[in-house]
Assembly symmetry: C2
Homo-oligomer: 394 residues x 2
């Protein structure tokens, strides 16, 4: 399958650029190591279960070689992080190409649900008060605890239990209690949180079954280089592989040889930056890196007509299987997915494809419920695609 | 006191720019609210104790009005966050002008010391395993727990204790144990961490005494506007006030009317960005906003001769009281502080001021020990300054 609008020559140029990104950001040893890790991960799963490559977060375009300043694409990475959880829930193995420091699967549950802070933020000075007992939000518990300590209503303290004459047990228990006073306790909101418990269990299951591989990146060059390695590793899985491109990828960057070597000096008034377009890799991904994989891309616009046109173009130019369209102001409530009339059958003219609207079941719910509905649609389409592709265990 | 190189006309222009930043990023009501908060905070402390305004983290220069892309100054905010803790330890009240999402005081202890991750990162997928019992790093404990559960060597289970005939207590205890199985437990590394315990205690003390006020910012405009509000509020504290400018402030930005209204479209190949110099506010801060405060600024360079020259200029041009100089490659091991020969007496010619080298006591220690030594020096200088300034309780 070859995309109509792109020549082999274009591909060669882009591929060379990606190779140079790779050698700039990874030593040969690290590159070999990562390739090995990916191959092992994919081959451990490829006849067992579908495998998703999910990208998330923004990419940084550095202005300097010894970088202090960068051009950043703002993205919390939350959509991607929740999607990883949703794919894992549905039995997929997941390679997560993750912007370092952006929202993480499972970790974001603690940040969002419990600490009520943005999922990509570090623990701030208030979060500790929400995380640990005795914090500023915990006066009530401290009070209850004080009463309990004084009255010991469950008679759990052996010193209050006249029937207990086992001195060794007494000592051990007392030691234990004293010891407990020197330890740190969780805030009760955390201690009994069902959401956190579920997240910890799902995380433990996924890790035990070795179904999650996280590959961190920071710069745009690192992202593209690792996208190539990861998607190429998926080739083995044929149509069982799914590529879910939720990262906010920079359109512009400064090529290595045009970057300032050191921190740009500020003595000289205004400065002018010339930014180059980032090499377009979607064609290569679809035609060369992972040609048999099911490919889902994203578009964000402010006008629904432009959104439809851009989504169609992603299908025409790159043969994307689904395009998830977001309008800036409604994207947390609904998305429009451009998909073929019969799921899995991508031969119809794209201008006749319907837009499927996926809406958050209840407007007041968390974003999870929208992502869950989207992944339901995506997984169904992927399975139709697998059955149409004639995938067979070899 | 008026800086020799800057005219009143310059100040008026810069002050107008800062006022427009303020009205762009805060509604009138929010501005009044913040001013009130600051005034109350300062007046609650100003005859009781010294007060430090600490800035930390990088500033974002947005390219678009509805911002998706920004130019960012990379800074973890760690130096500022640790400095806030160090000032609080020494009895200061602290106004912390904090880049949202950068390292936070106390919060960074959990991230760094316990989870072994960058202090400004959100909780990532691995951190949960380090935070909670039963995580992937906790096999050893699970094993020990299993043995304990089976053998009950401390005879803590009343069902195994033949001497115990109190059925109510039995039931209560059993209920308690079952209940415990549904709750989330901390990883033992966290449970008994002395560093975390100390951080939690110090944090609780500072909050109880209302000695910490955090003011978050994101963009360069927001930073400068809030710096003006915060430093102006410090005026009341006269020489008891200290301004500690540890934030990495962008030198360039795009003024509001030159920003693209919407997301810059990527169809048109390369783009060129014209960046303007950020208004220099140090002169205003020293002469108008907080003229009586002790002022500490930072310089980062790669060459020690340039560093000395730039530090001298900060003293000559803006009458900074101390300049903390960092060389890029040694900044985590030592800093050079440009200070007058007699602390607190700033009348000598700056070219005769010595550079005091402050070195981390033990190279293997955490950054805390370097910051602690720096703050020792700064606080000593500040107290000499206070006694020379003839500060008296009114």
């Amino acid at each position: 399958m070859s995309s109509s609008n792109t020549t082999t020559e274009d591909y060669t140029t882009v591929d060379q650029q990606i190779s140079s990104f790779l050698s700039d950001c990874l030593s040969d040893a690290d590159c070999t190591q990562l390739e090995l890790q990916l191959t092992q991960f994919v081959s451990c799963h490829y006849h067992q279960r579908p495998i998703a490559l999910v990208t998330s977060g923004g990419t940084a375009a550095d202005l300097e070689v010894n970088s202090v300043r960068c051009l950043d694409n703002f993205s919390t990475g939350l959509r991607g992080a929740i999607s990883v959880e949703e794919f894992l829930k549905r039995g997929y193995a997941v390679v997560h190409l993750w912007r370092r420091g952006s929202a993480s699967p499972f970790g974001r549950v603690l940040c969002q649900e419990i600490l009520q802070q943005p999922a990509q933020d570090g623990l701030h000075v208030d979060s500790l008060g929400k995380l640990f007992a005795g914090g500023d939000e915990d006066d009530e518990e401290a009070l209850v605890q004080q009463v309990l300590d004084q009255q010991d209503p469950w008679l759990t303290d052996p010193n209050n239990n006249n029937n207990n004459n086992d001195t060794a047990a007494n000592n051990a228990h007392t030691m234990n209690r004293n010891d407990h006073h020197h330890s740190i306790a969780l805030h009760r909101h955390v201690l009994y949180s069902t959401k956190l418990q579920t997240a910890l269990q799902e995380r433990a299951t996924a890790l035990k079954e070795q179904r999650l591989l996280t590959i961190p990146f920071r710069s745009i060059e690192e992202y593209l280089a690792k996208l190539k390695l990861a998607s190429t590793a998926l080739q083995e899985s044929k149509s069982l592989a799914l590529v879910y491109l939720a990262a906010a990828v920079s359109d512009y960057y400064i090529p290595q040889h045009e970057k300032s070597q050191h921190k740009i000096q500020s003595d000289s008034g205004s400065i002018t930056l010339h930014l180059r377009p980032v090499p377009k890799t979607m064609g290569l991904l679809r035609d060369a890196w992972a040609p048999d994989a099911f490919c889902v891309s994203f578009k964000l616009e402010t006008d629904s007509n432009i959104l439809r046109k851009k989504a169609e173009r992603a299908v025409q130019k790159y043969n994307c299987h689904l395009v998830i369209g977001n309008l800036l102001h409604t994207r947390y409530q609904k998305v429009s997915i451009l998909a073929p009339p019969e799921l899995g059958n991508h031969t119809t003219d794209v201008t006749e494809w319907p837009m499927h609207e996926v809406v958050k079941p209840h407007p007041q719910q968390q974003q999870d419920s929208l992502e869950s509905a989207i992944i339901d649609f995506v997984v169904q389409s992927h399975f139709e695609f697998i059955s149409n592709s004639g995938y067979q265990q070899q």
